[in-house]
Symmetry: C2
Subunit: 156 residues, 2 copies
């Protein structure tokens, strides 16, 4: 559940050089290979490290436009809306939230014009009452986790 400094350094190393091997890590960290291996196993079975899936850049795939849509759902239609949104490839992420909207989703599109098509497809479903969209211009802090890992490692 909680991680120590060594765990933190392992994650840090992996984040910086994902292709690094266990042996090389043990050299850099100054510990035995078995230790690194055991820590990694533990981190993975703990669920702290979910996996090492490839990070694919939607922009490089031809989807340079990102947007966030806040959706208002008709009462009782939640399950259907979820299924509908899950079937749209351009919906990269979906959350149900408290607050003024009911759901928040991340969308990508090939262009601003194409975003219209995506939104039409997203909201072209009966259970969705209203959608308000915010187009992403800049991304000053791309998805990150390292600072949090470092903080968690310090607090041991």
């Amino acid at each position: 559940m909680s991680i120590d400094r060594l765990d933190g350094r392992i994650i840090l190393l992996l984040a910086r050089e994902p292709r690094i091997g266990v042996l090389e890590m043990s050299r850099r960290l100054g510990v035995a290979r078995g230790t690194v291996q055991a820590r990694l196993d533990r981190l993975q079975s703990n669920g702290v490290i979910r996996g090492f899936g490839p990070e694919v850049d939607p922009a490089a795939l031809g989807y340079p436009v990102t947007a966030f849509a806040t959706l208002q759902i008709r009462q009782g239609q939640g399950a259907d809306v979820r299924a509908h949104l899950a079937s749209v490839p351009e919906v990269l992420e979906l959350h149900t939230t408290t607050g003024s909207g009911d759901m928040l989703c991340r969308l990508v599109a090939r262009s601003n014009a194409d975003l219209q098509r995506v939104i039409d497809r997203v909201v072209g479903f009966d259970g969705i009452v209203r959608a308000s969209t915010a187009i992403v211009m800049e991304n000053p802090v791309p998805p990150r986790i390292i600072p949090l890992v470092e903080q968690a490692a310090e607090e041991t």
Copy 2:
């Protein structure tokens, strides 16, 4: 810039079994090892595959609460606010957007009570006029990219 079916299958395999090697991939895909290697190199230098960083689960680290905050910024304070937010470990992501808000950020916290502390720290900065927060309850579609990859691979 664009990917074909083989590229798609490579990414798919990597997503499903991240620890798979180039040799095993070539066997599964029925192509030569050199081909897979060349494709992978190309995908990475293209930027389609950004990397293979470890996916760390904030919940397993002790931060089970996720929220999205929409921020309104005082004109001309954008740069300062960006720097301020980047210094908060619990800010996992930050975007500047069009629409009613000026920025949208993803936050995590140790609990709902702790979220108050995080928000106080986030908005306790001069350039931020207003913040409205939505707490995430469910996550019906966790961050995903595979459907988009498959679509991009088909369209070749």
